[in-house]
Amino acid sequence: MMHERISTTAGSPLFRADDLEVTYRSSRGPTKALEHFSTTLAKGEFLSILGPSGCGKSTLLKVAAGLLMPSSGVVELDGRPITGPRRDVGIVFQQATLLPWRTVLDNVMLPIRTLGMDAQAGLARARDLLRLMGLESFEKHYPHELSGGMQQRVGIARGLVHDPSLLLMDEPFAALDAMTREHMMVELQRIWMEARKSVVFITHSIPEAVFLSTRVLVLSPRPARIIKDIAIDLPLPRTQETLASARFGELCGELRAMFSHDKK
């Protein structure tokens, strides 16, 4: 099974967090966003992080991207501590956050140009990714000429163009309508299987997490702690039929129970 193969590549973890804690200083005193957070991410793994809104999921992502230093604990990427922004990390946000004054192609090229990477190779990769996203005929368009779903696909292409070993996605489909969302889920899985990237995917949609992931972490409300860590054993690739399968429903139910339990 495909999943088996992914698990066997987990020799050394790509990403490791150990007893991570993040405390914000605000006008109302210190706020703990993340507490006793420990996990590892194997190469090629698709890890979803599921939690109530405002629980500190985005904080975790900022730490992984090297944009925010943890108050205590260890974060490592490829065995080296994360002390600042790393060029082998790609980020995709809830909004596409494209530069409206740049064409689709130039937007995808942004990481290449900012990081000062080889433009010729970057251009070829950008074009490949746009083809993968089904956007090859839109490379000269401007973002405002594209639909929300297309813009988000440009955002994903931009996240992948510099060939990062880790892709961080912060609720990338949250701003899309239900139809586009489902379509994008299937697309993202296809891209993930083709590009073989490790992904940390933040979401508050249970079906989205189950459909896409090889593993799901459930976080508690603020300060976020891991309250569940389950492997998703659905066979890959997952399709429309997967969504209707009994196992899919079972897994969703199991996760949903975590949240209803919290409220009691």
């Binding site: 900022k62 600042g84 060029r87 980020i91 946000f93 909004q95 956050t97 004054w101 990481p111």
Partner: protein
């Protein structure tokens, strides 16, 4: 009928109606000339002014003070706005003073500025620059601060320098705000120029109006007012044109134009 033709035709029809009303009120209703001069004498004043050339010197004077003041005022305001938005300590230091100066009607400073900078073109330009400063300054600062934080995070994640983020991300993001500042400043700058000329000047369109008051020469006043309107409209339209060209991605009327 085409929408764009309509938007030109309708105001044109209103203009013609107003001109007709003008002619009728002077000819048939006996409105005295010192209240409302006959249309033909205003046209005559304009002909004397711009064809025979009596107004060109004044037109040029007001336009020069406007241009110099506008360019200098807006440039300084832009730089200050950038510094203000980039350095929190500077904002903390200067904010109360900015607020105080902004609340004060700048035109009240005109006499003082004439004393400080002399009675020539310099003082007029300073006045224009001063009134242009605030809208440009505030809009620049607000626009820069309104940059999508995710976009800044993204650039920081690529180790982009602060300068790089400022010039490549924040300033283009703030372009619409900056143009709004430029737009308001055109109109306010013209007010500044005229007020400064009212206080003391021997040239300019403002001076022309002031001088015509003593002889109740309303035709010249109207001609000068029309000249000022033309100057203001031309300036506004130029800024609008530049905005459409440069900030092509951010247009409120974009969808409407496509429809």
């Amino acid at each position: 009928m085409n929408e764009s033709v309509k938007s030109i035709l309708y105001p044109l029809l209103l203009l013609l109606a107003l001109l007709a009303l003008w002619i009728v009120s002077v000819r048939s209703w006996g409105v005295p000339n010192y209240i409302l001069p006959p249309l033909e004498s205003v046209l005559d004043a304009l002909r004397r002014g711009y064809i025979e050339g009596a107004f060109w010197k004044d037109f040029g004077y007001t336009m020069s003070s406007m241009l110099i003041g506008y360019v200098c005022g807006c440039s300084i305001a832009f730089v200050m706005g950038v510094l203000f938005a980039e350095f929190r300590w500077l904002e903390r230091l200067l904010y109360p003073f900015v607020l105080g100066l902004q609340s004060m009607p700048k035109v009240a400073l005109a006499p003082l500025i004439l004393v400080w900078f002399g009675f020539g073109l310099g003082s007029k330009a300073v006045m224009v620059g001063l009134v242009c400063f605030f809208p440009m300054f505030i809009n620049t600062a607000v626009g820069l601060k309104a940059t999508d934080p995710s976009l800044i995070d993204l650039m920081r994640a690529f180790s982009a320098s602060r300068w790089h983020i400022l010039t490549r991300i924040k300033i283009p993001s703030a372009a619409s705000h900056i143009f709004a500042g430029l737009q308001i400043s055109v109109v306010l700058g013209l007010i500044g120029a005229v007020v400064a000329e009212f206080v003391s000047s021997s040239q300019g369109l403002g001076y022309l109006i002031n001088a015509a008051t003593t002889t109740l020469d309303t035709s010249t006043m109207f001609a000068a007012l029309i000249s000022l309107a033309v100057l203001g409209i031309a300036g506004s339209q130029l800024i609008k044109f530049l905005q459409r060209k440069l900030v092509f991605w951010d247009r409120g009327d974009h969808n409407q134009a496509a429809a």
